[in-house]
Amino acid sequence: MPARTLGLAAISVAALALLVWVLVHWRLPGNDAGYTPVQPIAFSHRLHSTDLQINCLYCHAGANTARYAGMPAANVCMNCHRFVAAPTQAVKDEQWRAAREGRDVRRIVSDAMRTLYRAQGLDDALRPDPKITPQPIAWVRVTQFPDFAYFDHRAHSRVGIECQRCHGEVQTFERTRQDQSLSMGSCVACHRESNRQGVNGMAVQASLDCVSCHR
């Protein structure tokens, strides 16, 4: 085959590949879906929600009663993590090792828990450590609305919209990510659809007025 034809073919393939790539990755500006920041503590929703069956509202208590679902304070974590300081396997290993070495079982604290304890000025034995200044855990916010838009969880939870509708299958996430674009278009599309089909078999009035969200 002459070089010219080969060249043309190569260019065509490259162009086609580029087109496919653009079509696959095409997103309009303002679409932050897929944002998965690294958090100060490797918190797993899968572990807590799916494996341990902890209700969303246990931590995000405001979702039903306030505009914001809210982030749990560290003492909510401490309700359990006062006792749970490390994964079961690590604790078992330590027990086995201690039995073999004929010593007392030591308290095992995982790295993540250490971060949690330090944030509250506690040492590994959960005693206040005067050398440590308590600092709130600097969670990286995943789902953030712009300042000019207002979202009220109450209005949505009242009609029984599940958390997953906007936040995705959070209970399966190892690391929390923004599941949907949550652009204005996605809000509007859901409102339109809810007006047409209702939510959970209930007719709803999901407003399409601009001032529903922009004030």
């Binding site: 300042d147 000019f148 838009a149 009242r158 399409l208 007025d209 001032v211 529903s212 922009h214 004030r215």
Partner: protein, 508 residues
């Protein structure tokens, strides 16, 4: 801290209160507020004939600053005086006749000094006491009186005197402090008698200080080239002839005829509306500040107000009418009329302003690109524009912002929303209870603040609402009916019995 605080004797109470409020008050003798003893001011001016240039000085407390105790609040420094409409200044009001005699007009600086014949004023102290203030020509004022607000000129106002955007054209000439303090002139008057009308000498300085004034044209009379403005606004506020009941009035043309298009949008839900009783309105302007506080409206500073860029969403128009008995003053609160046929909406190219299903004219800041076409096309001129980024850099200052209202960025238009955040909250609260908001559940900031209850807010589609009842009042009228704007604001016209010139001046 507790020692210096004024919050009661018990430390426990002080501690609890401080913790709850997040702040505590210290009594600092250096900034102790002066209290003006209004009862000492005589009720009328002694009518004595005076030589030219010698007038009687009256220091009066303004509604914003009172005796000066509120001079530390930029909201109030920028609040237009209900009558003079002057901001950021202690202007010296004189009657038009006196202004003619002195050969001055608005903004001309004059020097006020103790009268030569005042026995207490030696030459030296007289010079010390001299203050320079700009003239405000005030119709209806006594010819012998020069009236200057008290409470201005405090050193602490320095902080705000220069407030406003910094740019090449910004006027930085008068950033020393706001207004002039005339207290020394007054305090020395007649020892033992407190504050009293003081005879003063007035000299014209020959320089000007442009007034930062929010309204320049105020007369309702027909006169030459302003004839049409008169015609339009003459209908705005109707002074009933003595004994007759005011009729609903009309603007410069016939009310709107048939629509060019069928009104195919039957409103099923509420249509928010407002009725403003002009008879009840005293012009006190509390609503203006309430609106500003509620809606995160920036204070733009003296220079910007001079350029007519004040941001108040709600303003109070003040008009004068020459009556046989003297000058009558009328106040008209003016804000977005949330028109059904809104001229601003049609012209916005990017759909930043549209009509909501409950009849609000919604302005979306995040969509606005700033063509200012809506402002041009608004017949009421109630739209405001963010000419600069009115910065909110200081974190402490940001704590006064209302978190329910977007802080607008530079380059977007804004206007009254009927406090849509309150509407939305009330509706949501009602819905969570499983009902619709009742009449009176929703109160915009202006209505909430109005001491005279001049503002009624509610659903115009609800036949039992109070606002609906008021639109049926015999005094009810809407502005510029000829334009067929279908505004949501109804005014209840002023009823004034015209006094004859023989009536007592002080009577009402």
């Amino acid at each position: 801290m507790f020692d210096a605080s004024t919050d009661g004797p018990s430390f426990e109470a002080f501690w609890d209160r401080s913790l709850r409020d997040g702040w505590t008050r210290r009594s600092d003798p250096a900034v102790a507020a002066l209290h003006f003893d209004v009862s000492q001011v005589p009720s009328s001016v002694p009518a004595t004939s005076r030589a030219l240039g010698t007038l009687v000085l009256i220091g009066y407390p303004t509604v914003a600053l009172l005796d000066g105790r509120q001079a530390f609040n930029p909201w109030l420094l920028e609040l237009p005086d209900p009558v003079t409409k002057v901001t950021w200044e202690s202007g010296a009001s004189v009657s038009p006749a006196t202004a003619r005699v002195l050969g001055v007009s608005d903004g001309d600086l004059i020097r006020i000094a103790p009268a030569r014949d005042a026995e207490w004023a030696s030459k030296a102290t007289a010079d010390d006491l001299t203050v320079e203030v700009p003239i405000v020509v005030q119709p209806g004022q006594h010819d012998d009186v020069i009236a200057v607000p008290i409470g201005y000129g405090q050193r602490a106002t320095q902080r705000f005197a220069g407030i406003g955007p910094r740019w090449l054209g910004a006027d930085t000439s008068d950033r020393a402090r706001v207004g002039a303090n005339i207290a020394p002139l007054l305090a020395r008057a007649r020892p033992g008698e407190g504050v009293a009308p003081t005879p003063v000498r007035v000299t014209v300085v020959g320089r000007r200080r442009e007034l930062a004034r929010t309204q320049d044209h105020s007369w309702l009379q027909a006169s030459g080239r302003d004839a049409w403005g008169t015609e339009a606004s003459g209908a705005l506020i109707r002074f009933a002839e003595a004994g007759t009941a005011p009729r609903p009035t009309q603007s410069e043309t016939e009310p709107g005829g048939p629509d060019l298009w069928p009104d195919e949008r039957q409103q099923l839900g509420p249509r928010w509306g407002m009725a403003i009783d002009l008879d009840a309105c005293t012009g006190c302007s509390a609503c203006v500040v309430a609106c500003q506080v509620e809606n995160n409206t920036p204070v733009v500073g003296r220079d910007e107000v001079r350029r007519h860029r004040e941001m108040h969403w709600l303003r109070i128009d003040r008009y004068y009418l020459e009556r046989p008995s003297g000058v009558a003053v009328a106040h008209q609160p003016m804000t977005c009329h949330q028109c059904g046929h809104a001229p601003c909406e049609t012209v916005c190219p990017v759909l930043a302003t549209t009509r909501s299903s409950d009849g609000l004219n919604q302005q979306i800041y995040s969509r606005c690109v700033g063509t200012r076409y809506c402002m041009n096309n608004c017949p009421f001129k109630v739209r405001r524009f963010n000419w600069f980024d009115y910065a909110h850099d200081e974190r402490m200052e940001n704590l006064v912002l209302n978190p329910d209202v977007t802080v607008r960025s530079r380059g977007v238009a804004e206007k009254c929303t009927f406090c849509v955040q309150r509407i939305q909250d009330a509706r949501l609260a009602a819905r969570l209870r499983g009902e619709e908001p009742a009449d009176g559940d929703i109160v915009p900031a202006c209505a909430q603040t109005c001491a005279a209850s001049a503002i009624t807010f509610g659903d115009l589609n609800d036949p039992h609402s109070r606002v609906r009842a008021r639109t049926g009042d015999g005094r009810a009228y809407t502005l510029l009916e000829g334009l067929n704007l279908q505004p949501a604001i109804t005014y209840l016209a002023m009823q004034r019995r015209d006094r004859s010139p023989d009536d007592d001046v002080d009577g009402n």
